[in-house]
């Protein structure tokens, strides 16, 4: 008998994806355990972001299988709403709704999508904004917040849906170095609380420190992977070495 809690929460098996004639993912497989922090690193155009978008079905895959909590998402009968309740996503450009305040941004989806009670959602949304250290910014519009603040609102907005897995797509890439830290601290706290996180990132220090497993992708394939300590010290594949030498 298999215990649900020991199964990988995300299981990706031999996923292929092309945009037109350009192959982006060429047979990617990986398992992510509950509570794990998986970091995907690699050069631009290696398919990292696409892989992340496949996990919540923003991008449909051509071939292969993606299981979230043992449910196949590569099927026409997929209920995207159910999937996206389980999988939250944070984007590089924050993508907050500019016409709504920080608080409203966090409250919108639970009210519109989950049809939850407004008063209860508001209490939770205020708590979430406090958790990401944005108390007092509830009524600010995204355009009035710094990049780091906007990104933390985006994280709170995602968390408001109570996801089981959080996907972070280069969430610090658009930030200046000082604000990178405040976002990373927020993600680290989430990880410490046991949230399953999948990060596409260029923050090697963060990957080493907070990650449980590092995947290096190149040309649509996972070239090498392992726990960060091992990975950064002993990566053996020449492509990995070349990449690490360039950025470390």
């Amino acid at each position: 008998m298999t215990d649900a809690s020991t199964l990988p929460i995300v299981r990706i098996v031999d996923v292929h994806k092309s945009f037109g004639l350009v192959p982006v993912l060429q047979g990617v497989s990986l398992d992510i355990a509950r509570g794990e922090v998986a970091c995907i690193i690699g050069p631009s155009g290696s398919g990292k972001s696409t892989l992340l978008r496949c996990i919540n079905a923003l991008v449909p895959i051509d071939q292969g299988s993606i299981l979230i909590e043992n449910e196949e998402i590569n099927t026409p009968s997929l209920d995207k709403l159910t999937l996206r309740r389980k999988v939250g996503m944070v984007f590089q450009q924050y993508n907050l709704f500019p016409h709504r305040t920080a608080l409203q941004n966090v409250m919108m989806a639970p009210i519109h999508v989950l049809k939850q009670d407004k008063a209860a959602v508001e209490t939770r949304a205020r708590a979430l904004l406090k958790k990401v250290r944005l108390e007092g910014k509830e009524d600010s519009f995204p355009g009035e917040l710094s990049g780091g603040q906007q990104q933390r609102v985006a994280i709170a907005r995602s968390l408001a849906m109570n996801p089981k897995v959080m996907l972070f797509d280069e969430v610090t890439a658009a930030l200046d170095p000082e604000t990178v830290k405040e976002v990373l601290v927020t993600i680290r706290e989430l990880a410490e609380e046991g949230m399953t996180c999948v990060l596409v990132t260029h923050e090697m220090g963060f990957a080493r420190e907070v990650g449980n497993h590092v995947y290096f992708t190149d040309k649509g394939k996972i070239v090498e992977h392992g726990p960060p300590a091992e990975f950064f010290a002993n990566a053996s594949h020449p492509r990995t070495r070349e990449f690490l030498n360039q950025i470390l």
Binding site: L58, F91, F97, P98, H99, S140
Partner: protein, 247 residues
Amino acid sequence: MFGIDDWFRRLYDTSGINFTYLYDAYDRGRFLAGIVLTLELAAICIIASIVIGVVGAALHGSRFRVTNALVRGYVALFRNTPPLVQLFFFFFVLGGLLTFKTPYGTFQLSNFTWAAISLSVYYGSFNIENFRAGIESVPRTMVQAAEALGYRKGQIYLYVILPLAFRFSLPALGNTLVSLVKATSLAYAIAVPEVLYVSSEIWSDQLNVPEMMVTIMVFYVTLVSIMVYAIHRFEKRLRIPGYSAGR
């Protein structure tokens, strides 16, 4: 008693400047009726052209190729022909075809109705383009964010795309509506007794063309200024703090 009437009557007697509608009850009556008709025509056309714009832009964005082609054909036909020509086309061609006898008398749409239809259809084609441009300038990433939060297509339209698209299209919409209000004077050509038409009746009787022309210019400047002011106030109210479009 010395009132406005007497003052303008004396002005005419002493200087020959003849604002008949300010002292003559009959002229005043038809002039005011002309103003009211202009306002009515403008209001109807504003509403109808916006409705056509919203529906057209929505159909244009639908995934059915037929509706898409229909909307593009509509825009091509009505945006690319002169409004006066369209007015004559509607009134003389369609108006002729749509006149027939019924047991209760002759069925016929009034000149006013044809003017309202014609101007709405013309400016509706502009509003389709205004709203379409607004929808297209909503960043694709907003839609993705909403999708990632589990929003369905209709909800994305309602809560994300439309509120932003409407704001983006406001400046262009304002321009179109200003044009529309001024173009109501074209209804003159099919004898709709709007403000220009009644003025021409008055000056034919009273031979006071300059006075009436000055009056009409002042009337339109005032009307359009009020409108522009209202549109700006509206834009300001909807402005998103800290947000500049196209970022």
